[in-house]
Symmetry: C2
Subunit: 405 residues, 2 copies
Amino acid sequence: MAKVNENFLKLPGSYLFSTVGKKVREYENANPEKEVIRLGIGDVTLPLPQAVIKAMHKAVDEMAVQETFRGYAPDLGYEFLRSAIAEHDFKKRGVDIAEDEIFISDGAKSDSANIQEIFAADSKIAVCDPVYPVYVDSNVMSGRTGEYNPNTGRWSNVIYMPCTAENNFAPELPAETPDLIYLCFPNNPTGSALTRQQLQRWVDYANEKKAVIIFDAAYEAYISEPEIPHSIFECADARTCAIELRSFSKNAGFTGTRLAYTVVPKELLLDGTMLNSLWARRHGTKFNGAPYIIQRAGEAVYSEEGQQQVKEMVGYYMENAKIIYNGLKSLGYTVSGGVNSPYIWLKTPQSMTSWEFFDYLLEKANVVGTPGSGFGPSGEGYFRLTAFGSKENTVKAVERIRKLG
Amino acid sequence: MAKVNENFLKLPGSYLFSTVGKKVREYENANPEKEVIRLGIGDVTLPLPQAVIKAMHKAVDEMAVQETFRGYAPDLGYEFLRSAIAEHDFKKRGVDIAEDEIFISDGAKSDSANIQEIFAADSKIAVCDPVYPVYVDSNVMSGRTGEYNPNTGRWSNVIYMPCTAENNFAPELPAETPDLIYLCFPNNPTGSALTRQQLQRWVDYANEKKAVIIFDAAYEAYISEPEIPHSIFECADARTCAIELRSFSKNAGFTGTRLAYTVVPKELLLDGTMLNSLWARRHGTKFNGAPYIIQRAGEAVYSEEGQQQVKEMVGYYMENAKIIYNGLKSLGYTVSGGVNSPYIWLKTPQSMTSWEFFDYLLEKANVVGTPGSGFGPSGEGYFRLTAFGSKENTVKAVERIRKLG
């Protein structure tokens, strides 16, 4: 008799952004005359860069002709894309990453959910609190997290590293030793960043404890300060303890185009086994590559024209970040983030819970944000707004919040 | 201290098609003057249908303009694609599948590897032997298969259902009761098909034993005989015991374009839990949708123009299948498949092992096929050729084999 994976049944409620989406749809259906502004889910709104559009038209035409048609892609991804990544994202920053340490995928969400598979079932994970839900939920699904306590909002077998105003949203080294450490910097959801020196402390700690850091650098394009590292591999000795996840979603607007990559250095060994080989095996067995057209789109991001256009796009969103940050600050809100990140993290006013503030903002200002508590218990009383709207909507949203008084 | 998932270390050697690819590359590097014909991996060679090309250009243009730009797709996939699937792949065959029973994905390889996640860790799987390696390997990685015996080529905790000339490559109901039954018909690699009546027997068996059938119908477009079902849901009561995997790779040539879908009926319950909800949760947590452009490409497959072009493409490959089938038969080979499937399955001559014949064919005829033993122990002494080459190459390959004498 077939049985279900009972770990799935432990998951409380549904995925955060699905719940947010459902609430917004219900509100819009009930109030069709209202114009709702979405600054909730981290989804971009600007069209794709022209360099990317051109590259995709060209690739589509190649797929129309037998001589240039492409079937299955190489397991790791096309060499033209991996070499562009190695050159632009790493070599230009003084970091050596080999092409066969780069694995092209369909998104950092998939990678961050799948990476746990190559580790032992009894691995103990450490996560920031608040945290991007996928890190925890993917470990729940594979049975690593123990039991959920609905009162604390925490799993019994997870090490939580609170990131609050008290530690300036930078986690402390945990008291209990973890096997896997998920770090996302610039951070989703708090918008905070770690300096090179701060990140080096984590690398040294992981090497000492023989732990592995899963470093999610999906927001690196938003870094504006020179002391913030774009890659964990800018730190000494990171090649023996870290895996890095990167994405084209937030720099080049690929949220609906789907492209990402993971770096697994060949020096990263556990008990003599190369994690690079395990990830290659996983990739080759359970995935069949990103579409050729989309890999060409990714390559175009690294062209001179593409780099210029991506820079302008990121600049546009960072202008929005400033508008939200300064606007809310001037209204007396306690805000952080927004400097090296497209996320603004604010304290809810009048001791509202995160979901109370979500409903309040949706109903009174028709603005959608994301409840901080959806990212973990230490997010309670906080709220995330994103800079990914249009400038016009961003200005309007701040104006509407101003009118709430 | 972090540890690896030891189940990965149990996997013998590397993934079949990677090994084939490596051998061919090595041969080509050593013999650059030889023109190698690939009839090995099931990769298509014809360019994408014009209807698909047009739809992709249009979608690329939409991504270039703010008003029509698309970010994250809905979790299950775009409604325009799911409704086209429900209408054309099911309703037209008298099968009712609701749009929210259809989950769009990036490929049937991913789906067939990931689907095991929603089942209990101690689920016992049954597979045909020979079999598409991903079904077994994905279960090895999650620890369900026991130990590998290199002498028998079998895992201790897997139920194997031999498909050989004796049973006309149709599996018998297993003696031991499985929890999950993987069936792929039209079959990869043997090219055999099950009649509606034969498949109904499996559906009745699964319902009786409360087992779940994972039905891989990736090759349904190649069915030429009316008694062969295109979907398992053409069988009575399949909605309470079956999940179906479908792909755009082999009908519309999407191997490098990446699109597929999975059907999980809402009546499929295990101990009161809807598998549809579990798969939705998996999809929403660990995947972020297929690219918008590719989903539009999929939609175009169902347009009148698209359907006509796909039919021509399939016809072209089936003509190749006939050339291989008839050609080898006339040379005295024992061949099957090729009638409802793009695969031709042949007995190796002179008691060669599958890999011996692979090397022989590669070196003497410069033709690449796939060793039957790579698909499981009962595939030993067999060899798979595919109809996905060009007609010219297919004719040439048969001619070269003829000259081997």
